[in-house]
Amino acid sequence: MPVISYREALRQAMAEELDRDENVIIMGEEVAQFNGAYKVTEGLLEKYGPKRIVDTPISEAGFMGLGIGASMLGIRPVMEFMFWSFSYVAFDQVFNNAASIRYMSGGLINLPIVIRGPANGGTSVGATHSHTPENFIANTPGLKVVCPATPYDAKGLLKSAIRDNDPVYVMENTILYNDKGEVPAEDYLVPLGLADVKREGTDLSIIAHGRAVLTALKAAEILQAEHDVSAEVVDLRSIRPLDVETILNSVRKTHRVLLVEENKPFCGVGAQISHLIQSEAFDELDAPIKRVSAIDAPAIYSMPLEKIQLPDPQRVVRAALSVG
């Protein structure tokens, strides 16, 4: 199987869907002539032309709303936010329009739009540039959210997102763009709402999403090598819809749970997963659920401090060992 980068996997997903459906367009800041701020859309303008690969001014509220409007007439826009932090100026368009229009129209309208871009935690760009809002998005009925951690998942999830008939957030991470992995050359999809057990284990379930999955996998190796603990790593891949069964099956197998995320703890994704497990599998638990998340503060700039603020493998190992 070809080994390609996460970036390349996303690009292939877009190219294949651009080929498959003439209503698919790509729109965002610097996506066309500049080949993307992170080069995810490199070469697409050359291949598909300016009608389908569209550069916008720095007007997130405007172009986001425009994309939502176009999707009402059957265009399938794949909108790029340069960072999630910049999507905040388009909050209204996403929450009041994308999330609510189908409902308020009694189902008369649907919005087949994809909103993609990277989180940026861990690159010391400070509080205004490091937001990871997947919890807000997932908190909002009407929106779907996926967070691919590997090139394989990035391509398969983005393709499913583009074919989906609802607004889907595909939440990437700048630090993952250069990661390499096996990605089939042929057409394949990863369904929205299907978690993936990235590592089998018997003693403890570590449940994570996005880049935190890689942190969890590193921690699992250390746990095995240095502590003889067999950790299973469950990659949620999709936050909403959520694969409840895979989560509960893992809990039934290991009876111990550690939740890991790069987001803040309060009202975070882990809080929902934790509630789900105690409510559906209370009797399966041998110990209270623990979690590791970002330290509960705006993202600090200072490089060594930001490393402390975000979960790292050692912190995950310590937390895993503390699960009763």
């Binding site: 800041e29 610097e30 002539q33 500049f34 701020a37 550069d55 001014p57 720095i58 007007s59 997130e60 509220a61 405007g62 932090s85 910049f86 905040y88 100026v89 690159t123 010391s124 760009v125 400070g126 509080a127 205004t128 540039h129 803040k264 703890p265 309060f266 623990k290 979690r291 590791v292 998340s293 330290i295 509960d296 503060a297 705006p298 600090i300 700039y301 200072s302 490089m303 060594p304 401090l305 930001e306 402390i308 603020q309 912190r315 937390a319």
Partner: protein, 372 residues
């Protein structure tokens, strides 16, 4: 230019001759400048340039995180504007903020230390390159989200007016920022409520890799003020005297009539959008060379001061040497300074958590962590 009859000002003349400079020197905004004042303005620009050149080396050694947006080429705008600030005049800008910081009198040390994420930095290493602040110098940042600072600038002006202070706020933005909705909302509020704010578009022709023609409908950008019946003007940002002239006029309007102005100042950045993005495929090398060689604000002002007999060769060399030495020392200061302690992560989030006041009526738990 009256509010209602705002008309398109003459196109900027980037190649102003020394004679034109001489005329500008006599303009009331500049006529009162002493030789010492002029040397200080010159030195301020040189200090910014040397500081940023030195920061490039620190960045290349991997000691600065994230983004580093350089102001090199634009120095006359911040220095010219800041040189006019009076007791109740404030400024706010975007992420390309080092020049404004040094211009208001922040030290190279605290700025370089901030870039290096050190506890001795102006924001204790918490903000980084894009988020410098010095409220004691009436400098309200350093803002990372394009256009986000513009409503804040209107708000600072609102507060000045509310308090009955005769002052203004100069709110700087880039040419790309004019397409943010919040900017237009702020224009309207400022004009509607007669706020003493000066919106300054530092038009360096590009927003990242996008030229003005590819991002903005209608020119000049300042003309958008017409839609709000707000006064507007344009100026050549390579000519320090001209920047002062234009800012002085807008300040007068703010101070005396409590009215906003939208100024578009033409300038140029020599470097890539940021250090991590030095891509220059979107513009011609020749264009950059032309600005560097023929329109550089420091060189132009240097020539002007030499023609005025204010700057001799010895002083010129001394100013440059001192600026280099100061930049060098700031790099060492940053290097020698410690990083913040881990506890710092949870400090400076809420005022009432850091200093419980008598008014504070807060119960309950504020922060959450891995255990709860």
């Amino acid at each position: 230019m009256s509010t209602k009859t705002a008309t398109r000002a003459a196109a900027p003349k980037p190649e102003l001759e020394p004679r034109a400079m001489a005329a500008l020197a006599k303009h009331p905004a500049n006529a009162g400048l002493t030789a010492a004042d002029k040397l200080r303005l010159y030195r301020d620009m040189v200090r910014i340039r040397r500081f940023e050149e030195r920061s490039v080396q620190v960045y290349q050694k991997g000691k600065i995180g994230g983004f580093l947006h350089l102001y090199i080429g634009q120095e006359a705008v911040a220095v010219g504007a800041v040189s006019l600030l009076g007791e109740h005049d404030h400024i706010i800008t975007a992420y390309r903020d080092h020049g404004h910081a040094l211009a208001v009198g922040m030290s190279m040390n605290e700025c370089m230390a901030e870039l290096a994420g050190k506890v001795t930095g102006c924001s204790k290493g918490k903000g980084g390159s894009m988020h410098f602040f010095a409220p004691d110098k009436k400098y309200w940042g350093g803002h990372g989200i394009v256009g986000g600072q513009i409503p804040l600038g209107a708000g600072l002006a609102y507060a000045l007016k509310y308090k009955g202070l005769k002052g203004c706020c100069i709110a700087f933005m880039g040419d790309g920022a004019v397409n943010q909705g919040a900017v237009h909302e702020a224009y309207n509020l400022a004009a509607l409520w007669n706020l003493p704010v000066i919106f300054v578009i530092e038009n360096n022709k590009y927003s990242m890799g996008t030229s003005q023609e590819r991002s903005s409908a209608g020119e000049p950008l300042a003309k958008r003020a017409d839609g709000y019946d707000m006064a507007w003007d344009m100026g050549n940002g390579n000519i320090l005297y001209e920047v002062r002239e234009k800012i002085a006029a807008a300040m007068k309007r703010a101070h005396e009539e409590s009215k906003p102005t939208l100024l578009e100042i033409f300038t140029y950045r020599y470097r890539g959008h940021s250090m991590s993005d030095p891509d220059q495929t979107y513009r011609d090398k020749q264009e950059i060379a032309d600005y560097r060689e023929n329109k550089d604000p420091i060189t132009l002002f240097q020539k002007c001061l030499q023609a005025e007999g204010v700057l001799d060769d010895a002083t010129l060399a001394k100013i440059d040497e001192e600026a280099r030495a100061e930049a060098e020392a700031s790099a060492k200061f940053a290097d020698d300074s410690p990083f913040p302690q881990p506890e710092a992560i949870l400090q400076d989030i809420y005022f009432e958590e850091d200093n419980r006041t008598d008014q504070s009526n807060v119960k309950g738990r504020m922060f959450f962590g891995d255990s709860v």
